[in-house]
């Protein structure tokens, strides 16, 4: 069953230099409980798409539903159903971890007592329990990311959007984050929609990939299927597959001239 479906989703920005078509028409469906890797070169429209699907930015064309709620007519329903972690995160470095978690619970209309309980639960689940009374600014990169995700999980959303969640993390923190994403899907059935520039991450974590380029979907499928189709074999490196899809650099093996 599709939990996200978008048809012709588009966004044009009006700038001083004329209109910029950041997203030209995205068609995609995401099944419930799926981990979807959303890939594309810089400027392909990944973040703009995410910002539209999370109601932060109104589309200038097309339509989409998230968890059965229409983006245009039921933004409130979409907001209740989804969690979003932006590239930059979203906590005030001066405030304590506990205060941020409790405020987030209150923003989702939990009672004061319930919000305090939920903060404790989230801290336990995301390995932040010893850090509740620390200032957000004093956390390490990996701890900060876990806090950002805890904030987005406050209302147990059915869909979690993560925008480049592992950028800037050390390898150990990245591995922890991958485990966390898998655990969310396995234990809670959460659908995870994530963008990344790390192809090993997309390969290891995603059930399915959607590659965008120039504001439209250039290819989609399981990592293995994409490798077979664009990289020449199921064992092709995803790097080559990605470059072949986006037309930058290495072409599929069969068209590459053989050097003698």
């Amino acid at each position: 069953m599709a939990i996200i479906s978008a048809a012709g989703l588009a966004r044009t920005f009006v700038t001083k230099g004329g209109p910029v078509e950041a997203v030209r028409g995205i068609d995609l469906t995401v099944r419930e409980g799926e981990i979807l890797g959303f890939l594309g070169p810089n400027g392909a429209g990944k973040t703009t798409t995410l910002r539209m699907l999370t109601t932060l930015l109104a589309p200038t064309g097309g339509a989409a539903t998230v968890a059965g709620h229409d983006l245009a007519s039921d933004a409130a329903g979409v907001r209740r159903a989804c969690g979003y972690v932006a590239q930059s995160g979203g906590v005030d470095p001066q405030i304590s971890v506990r205060e941020e978690l409790v405020t987030q619970g209150r923003l989702y209309r939990l009672s004061r007592a319930r919000a305090a309980e939920r903060a404790e639960e989230l801290a336990r689940d995301l390995d932040l329990a010893g850090l509740l009374d620390r200032r957000c600014g004093a956390l390490s990169g990996g701890q900060r990311r876990r806090l950002d995700i805890a904030m987005a999980l406050t209302h147990r959303p059915r869909v979690l959007f993560l925008d480049e969640p592992t950028t800037g993390l050390d390898p150990g923190s990245r591995a922890d984050l991958w485990d966390l994403v898998r655990r969310l899907r396995d234990e809670h059935g959460t659908t995870v929609f994530l963008t990344t520039h790390y192809l090993d991450e997309a390969d290891a974590l995603s059930d399915r990939l959607v590659v965008v380029d120039g504001g439209t979907v250039a290819a989609e499928g399981t990592p293995a299927a994409l490798k077979r189709e664009y990289g020449g074999s199921p064992d092709a490196p995803l790097q080559d597959t990605f470059l072949a899809i986006t037309g930058r650099g290495a072409a599929p093996a069969d068209t590459t001239p053989v050097a003698v």
Binding site: F13, V14, R51, T54, T55, L56, L57, A58, A76, R79, R80, C82, G83, Y84, A86, Q87, S88, G89, G90, V91, D92, P93, Q94, I95, E99, T103, Q104, R106, L107, Y108, R109, M151
Partner: protein
């Protein structure tokens, strides 16, 4: 829901203000310096109105406090935008109007505190004014704070960088202060300046406050002041909410 959300946002930002007590006192420094070093120059001068020079100057200084304090309120929002805090909140079901009102009411509270400090200092310097008049004065500056802070937040959502925000606000506040007659009544000036200043909304607020400070409550100045103050506030809050609702472009 609006009340719940506004209270929540208000509490968050009031705690933020309380954490930076230095900034809280620093905001009142400029009008206080005017009071101490400029106020005594006026005591013997004919200012054309009723009452003492303090009854003319203090309303102007209170509006100056609101003008400069509230106009720069958007700076904190630019910082929060870069931290991603604003987007994080806009993804939740929180009321968009509350995101604006909670902040603006915090600014009005901070102002009220600073205004009381300033009036207390003015009493020491020699101000004597009827209590109802002083309270009406606070109400006017609260209106000014709410409207200017709303516009400042709206601008901060639009421009996004301190490099654009700072010069824009400076370019707007300085002429506003000079043309509104906050320091000296505009009626002292030539006719063209007097006419020009009537186009500034703050001119009408300061005229109404000066009447209130001498105990004249049922005057044309008061009527215009109230009308301009309410219209400005309604306009500014509408603009601000609209920007918070659709921001992101």
């Amino acid at each position: 829901m609006l009340l719940h959300d506004t209270g929540l946002i208000y509490g968050r930002y009031l705690r933020q203000s309380l954490r930076s007590r230095f900034a809280l006192l620093f905001g009142v420094l400029m009008p206080l310096l005017y009071l101490l070093f400029f106020g005594p120059l006026l005591t013997g001068l004919p200012l054309g109105g009723q009452g003492t020079s303090w009854q003319v100057l203090v309303p102007g200084l209170l509006l100056q406090l609101g003008l400069f304090g509230a106009s720069f309120a958007g700076f904190s929002l630019i910082v929060e935008n870069s931290q991603g805090v604003v987007e994080r909140m806009r993804v939740t079901p929180v009321s968009r109007l509350a995101l604006l009102l909670g902040r603006v009411l915090r600014d009005a509270t901070v102002f009220a505190f600073q205004a009381v400090l300033l009036v207390l200092a003015a009493l020491v310097m020699g101000l004597r004014a009827p209590l109802p008049g002083v309270l009406i004065g606070f109400a006017f500056v609260a209106l000014l704070t709410v409207s200017l802070a709303s516009l400042s937040y709206a601008l901060a959502m639009k421009v996004r960088t301190p490099q654009e925000f700072g010069p824009t606000i400076n370019a707007l506040t300085m002429p506003s202060m000079l043309l509104s007659g906050l320091m000296l009544p505009m009626s002292l000036g030539p006719a063209w300046l007097d006419v020009l200043s009537r186009l500034m909304p703050f001119r009408h607020l300061v005229d109404a406050m000066r009447d209130a400070y001498v105990g004249s409550y049922a005057t044309a100045h008061m009527l215009y002041g109230v009308l301009v103050g309410l219209a400005l506030t309604a306009l500014a809050v509408t603009v601000g909410t609209r920007v918070f609702r659709t921001a992101g472009a």
